[in-house]
Structures are given as C-alpha cells and as structure tokens.
Homo-oligomer: 468 residues x 2
Amino acid sequence: MLFRQVYDHIMTRMERGEWNADDKLPSIRCLALELGVNRLTVFKAYQLLKQNGKAYVKEKSGYYVCPEGESQLGDRHDEQQMATSSAVQMNSKLSDIHQVTAAYRFSQAVIDPNLLPNLFLSEYVKKVFDIYPKLMGIYSTPQGDEELREVLSRYLMRHYRVHLHPSEVLITTGAQQAIDLLARIFIRPMDAILVERPTYSAALDIFRAQGARLIPVAFSPAGYDMDMVEMLMKQHRPRFFYMNPTFHNPTGYTLPTLQRKQLVELAERYRCVLIEDDAFHEMYFEERPPQPLFTYDTEGWAVYLRSFSKYVAPGLRICAVFGRQSVIGPLIAAKSLADNGNPLVTQKIFVHYFQSERMQQHLEKLRIALQIRRDIMEEELAAASIDWRWTTPKGGLNIWLRLPDTVSASELFDESIRQSISFVPGQICDPLHEMQSWIRLSYSLVNEEQLRVGVQRLADIAQRIQKR
Amino acid sequence: MLFRQVYDHIMTRMERGEWNADDKLPSIRCLALELGVNRLTVFKAYQLLKQNGKAYVKEKSGYYVCPEGESQLGDRHDEQQMATSSAVQMNSKLSDIHQVTAAYRFSQAVIDPNLLPNLFLSEYVKKVFDIYPKLMGIYSTPQGDEELREVLSRYLMRHYRVHLHPSEVLITTGAQQAIDLLARIFIRPMDAILVERPTYSAALDIFRAQGARLIPVAFSPAGYDMDMVEMLMKQHRPRFFYMNPTFHNPTGYTLPTLQRKQLVELAERYRCVLIEDDAFHEMYFEERPPQPLFTYDTEGWAVYLRSFSKYVAPGLRICAVFGRQSVIGPLIAAKSLADNGNPLVTQKIFVHYFQSERMQQHLEKLRIALQIRRDIMEEELAAASIDWRWTTPKGGLNIWLRLPDTVSASELFDESIRQSISFVPGQICDPLHEMQSWIRLSYSLVNEEQLRVGVQRLADIAQRIQKR
C-alpha cells in the first residue's frame, strides 16, 4: 500500500511541474530519506512508474520522466496498466464533471437556487448597506469580522452548550479553504492522515497535493469499525482524521452518538486531531442529527468546520472554523498569508441574515423541499427493474447507490453523459481509486419533474447495459 | 549567505511545529540531500542555530530543538545574537503593527475610507441586486465570473493594446492570495527567487513559508542595477522575480521604461518568470506611469497582478491575475483547491461599478486628495530640523524615509508607539532583515490635520533621540 502512496506523491510532483519530461528523478536513496520511508518502498513506486509508462530507466544513471506522448503509448501495453492510468485520470475529474452542462445534473451537491429566498436576501442586502454605509471601504481582519464571530460563538452556546470565545473562531471562504489551510498547517510530505472511505473528493485532492499518505477508514450505515480506527491510529500515528460524520458526503450516513464519544477518547489517547466537516447538519428530514462530535471534546483535539455556503447563501461563501487556540492560532497565521481575510461585505450581509427570523422559516421550508426531492428520487429508483441498492439518507443532499455487478459505473457514466445526465462515479470519492460499483446521485439541484424523468432515463440506460 | 537561508528555512519549519522542543533535527547529510545544498551549508546553519540558542547538540547523536524558555536565555549571551533574534521577531510584526490602534497611523498603506464614494457604492449595490435577484444562490466558477473576466480583458486591450483572452484571467481574493497561489505553484523548498530590496513584507512571509531562498535586488530611485539582475539570474536560475515596479511599496520608486523592456528580455533569456504586482498604477499624481512591464512581454514570461482592493472598494477584495495558459492553468487548479472561487456577489458588484462613469470621477478626485496628503507630509518632514531624506513619490501611498545615522528605527518605533504614532520599520521590508535606518510612512489613511500633527510629533521624538 505505502508504495502506491509514494507513487501518487511522485505523480503529484510531476503534475506540479517539479519534474518535467526527461528530467532525472531523485535517486532512490535520496527520495527515501526525504520522505522518511524504506528504500524498497521507493523502489516499488519507481517500478510502477516505469510499468505505467511514466518513467524510464537509463543504464547506470537512474530514473527519468517520460514525455507525455510516450506515456500514453506505454499505457496501451496491457489491461492492468490501463486501469491504473484511468484511475489516476479520474482523480481530477470532479471539476470536469461539474463543467458538463447536463440537463439532469445529479452530479452537483448544491441546492437549487429556486429553493433559496433570493428576493428576500436581495432586499436584506440593501438594509445592511443602510446600517453600514461605509462597508465597501473597510477591510476585515484576517480572522474575520468580530461581530460575526461573536454571533457564531453565542450560536454554539445556545445550540450545543459549548463555550468557545470569539477568538476561537476563524472565518474562511467556504469549507474548501478551511480544509486547505488545515492541510497546510498539519501535513508534511508522507504524513499519515485518516480519511473516510468514500469521502469528499476535493478534500482528497487537497491532501494529495500536500503530500499526505491517505489511510482509509470505511464508512458503513452503522458507522466506522472502531477497533479498526484504533488500530490505524496506533499503527500510523496520523496527524488528523478528516471526517464528515453527519449526513455524510457522498453516502448520506450518520455516525451514531456512541461512536462520536469513543472517537473523542481515541483522539486524545493517540493525539490525533479530529477535523469534523459539518456542512449538512441543518439539512435533516425527520429528526435532528446527533450532536457534533466536537461538543464531546474537552481536551481540544476536535476542530469543527461549519459551512453555511450550501444552505444560507452559496453566493457568500461563509464557513466558520471552531477550535482551541493551539489550532486556531496557526490557522489564522495561515489565513493571513493565504488571502488576509474574507471580504467584509459578505460577512456583514451574512451575520444579519443569519440572525433573522426569516432565516429560520427558510430552513424549515428547505428541509421539506429537500425531503420531497429525496422521496421522489427513492420512488423512481425503487420503481426501476434494476437491482441497485442504497440506504435512505435521513438528511443531506445525496443518495449513494450501489449498482448491480453487471453494470460498471464508468460504462454507465459515459452513456449517461451522452444522454445529458451527470452523476459522480464512486471511484473519485475513494482514496483507493476503487469503488467502481458505486455512484453518488444528488437530489438537491434538479427540480421535481427533472428528478423523475432523469432517474427513469438513468434506469433505462442501466438496463440496456445490463442486457448486453 | 546561503546558510542564512537554510537557517530561516529551519526556523520556519520549527515555527510551523514540524520540529518541537527536544525533537531531533535531521542529520546534516539528510537535510543537505533534501534541500539540494552542500553539507557545509547545512553545518553552518546548524552552528548559527546553536549560537542563537535555537538548537543544542547531544554527543554523538545530533542536533536537537531548544525548548522556548532556554532559547530566550541563550539569546542574552551577546549583542550579536540579540540582533539576530530581534530580526527574526521583527519578521512577523507587520500584522502586529496593524493591530496597534494608534492615533496617527502612518503604518497602514490603506486609503482613508472617507475618500471612497461609499454612499454611491451602497446605492450601486442595490442596483446590482435588482439586475441579478438570484445572485445570493449562485456559486462562481473557481476562475472567476466570466462577465468580469471579459470586462478586464477588454480593459487591458483598451488601455495597453494587449490582447488576452478572458480564459487568461483569474480572479483572486486580493493580491495577497495571488502571491500565495503563485508561490505554491512555483516554489519548492530552497528554490531561488528574486525579490526587490526592500519589498512588501507579507510577500516575504509567504515566500519564506514556502521555503524559498530569497535573492535580493536593490531598488533605488534609478531602478535596478541591470547587470546585477542578469548576474543573479545567470547564477541562481531563479524561478521568478517578484516585483512591484510602479509606485513601489514601500519606496514609491518607479522602474523606468527602458529597464522594463530589458527585464522582459532577461526573463526570456534566463527563463525566469516576472511577477508584476501593480496595485498602485492608477494612483499617479502628475503624469501616468510607464506601461506595465507585462505589456512588453510576447513570450509569456510575465504574470500581471492587478489589485483593485486598494482604491476601488477594499471591502470587495478583488484582484485580477493576467497571464498565459502555462501559468494561468496551474493557477486555476491551485485556486480550485484553495477555496474553489471568490464569492460571486462581490465580483458582480465590482464589475458594474468598475465600468461606471462614477468610478472615473472617483479616481480623479482620489488622485488629487492623495497628492494633497503627500504634499502635507513632505512639507512637515522638510520643516523639521532633522536630517532625514526621501525621494518624492510620484504616486502610490508611501514615503520611504531615511533616518539620520544618529536615530535608529527601532528606538524611534518604540517611542512613537508609546505616543500613539505608528509606522513600518524598514527592517521588516528587507529580505535581509537589515535597513535599520529606514522607515515607511503612509500618508493615505490619516486625514490632513492628523498628518500635520503626527509628523510634527514624530519629528519631536526623533529630535529627542538625536540629542541623547
């Protein structure tokens, strides 16, 4: 397994342009020293590079980078290699998929703008500018607007009885930036980190770019295998565990309360930071989800990312990071370097809207609308004469669908795109680039009519593939 | 010189928490291999760490990190070391200085919010929301709003006759994020880069955090020493030259047209990217500055950063990066990972305001207001019976003041802060942590009355120090 991570690490550095065509790669000894791994591991990674047509050997001189064209040729040599290479390409495909303008976009876990109270929000913005007429002329501090941080600190207190000082809150541009900044302060090349399997693919891209060694933790409807988590923490001493325990993306699963408490204990014992990404918390259907894992933490091992981009106002890109000084301090320093602070305009609009009654009403309506869409998607999936399986999500935006063995996700994907239907193949959510029998379908963006028609068409395509 | 850069590199990694108190540092051989430098260089860096009380030696086992307390003690041993240590502390002081709530804030190169057309802007925002009522519900692409990129592409064409396609423009959160993303895609640890001396201190912080080896190029009122620049490019093969050639921060100097053309030639010859940071271009007093260096580039070696945060609307944090696909491509990928795109709200507000007639009127008034403030500052500086010297800035926000030898910047700084006057000590703008006889005074934030009184008081303080 480890050599595969070293392989990915080298590929990342090649993609970054650190080593170009016909450059000499570092000697096995040097790279082993730099990455703190065994020479045999580097040797195996170099062998795989050679096998995949990414590197070639010059007698007595070492390994060199293959020019692009030749690497393509190299790939055609056998089936096995084709698979590896397509996995690597899949790696960077989420943004590509999002570029596709399909009629039935099940690929984007984004809320239909028609479900957001846009007109009200626009009116609201005008009020905010009446309150702060000079808003446009003022910079925010890198940490974020103090008024906003106070409001969020009170919010945590009121909802979860957790006391955090406003100085322990950082505002970022969406959860994406929070994950990137955390990766920058925690990860050195080849550091082990735990990630759920499957997980948010953009987070995987960030961690890989930072050179992390990804240790997967399977997420099932029952949660994690806690003995396995403990063993992995013991064995790999990961810097952190990046998790999305509530209405998880892509599966929709939720980690039970007991495991939340156990994880906090494990984190303390093995000094492993828990990064809890909680973007979907408020998007529950029947009942409230368990408390954030973060609220059980008394020793400061948990960092809580609460994005409001998805459901309050995507246009504002506001995410809050809650954590103890030991993490928030370095994070503020990283944020200062990265962009010196979010715009003040968007923070002020957010803080006033967030506290309004209208916001609560919006949320209640939104939950109902999302639940209806989930129900429609499930109805249509169940009506199809295909043996696909899923676990009903109790919140969030996605259904994680297991295809029958006779239908491969990549075949279904190619055919669907041709018919203007998009979804996310499971493979790109998998730290191991596998999970080829799974796909993520988002029911949040397309309207009810499109949902019905789109899923019916998807089922037709799957059926045709099955019959071949 | 090189060992000092290795020293800074190790200090950065210690500050990041990569190596903590009593951790063993890498062996000299390993670190030399990792950084691609001579072992002797690493040895010298370790010696300096030891001397400064940052590391200690265990017999036959190597170098270890000193705990914080002891390092403080270690520093007291001799004068030389005190200086080194205070230079390192100075390093992270710009944000600290900005936290100081002085009555006379000459430390911030920010435009007085009273000089911005705030009320008009607020009215403007309301119009924008009337045009795009669903603005709040929509994400921008990572690269930035297409309408905005088209407008900026046309702007370049109209003003400088340079044709760049909208796909060759990237929108970032201020110039700060553009610099950070460029550092991330270009710099590997110990890569050489050229920086002006003095320069924007936050850029130095970013480059150091990324592990760059900083090669200084002196910037005088006459520009750079071009032979020296060529020699440095030849010798160090720098990845890029980060420059701010127009109304330079902190000096206010402007690079002459001839040198701009020569630099573009040198960049091609030595394959050194030119990063032209041009935040002050529109803030000229008597006449327009020379064309951006970027406009002379035909081979794609120049990247042009044009921030509008300073003078259009700081609250929006909009910066545009212009460059060829070979740079913009990786930059978009980095931006996607970093935060997946600026908020759409701020981009739409900006694009409409930027094209308005009112914006042109504002700019003309702003130039006059800034010129008046510069004149007042110069008047008061000249009236003081102190032999300080400066070159009149023809634009921008700052005066770069050389103190008489009898007055040290750090003494003046400590005393000024006590009397509620802030400025930026030259040392933190210097890649070599020297320039202790220089300070940066910004005339853009404080009003005319405060300018007079503040400079008079500063002169009084300097005089008292001189007489001691």
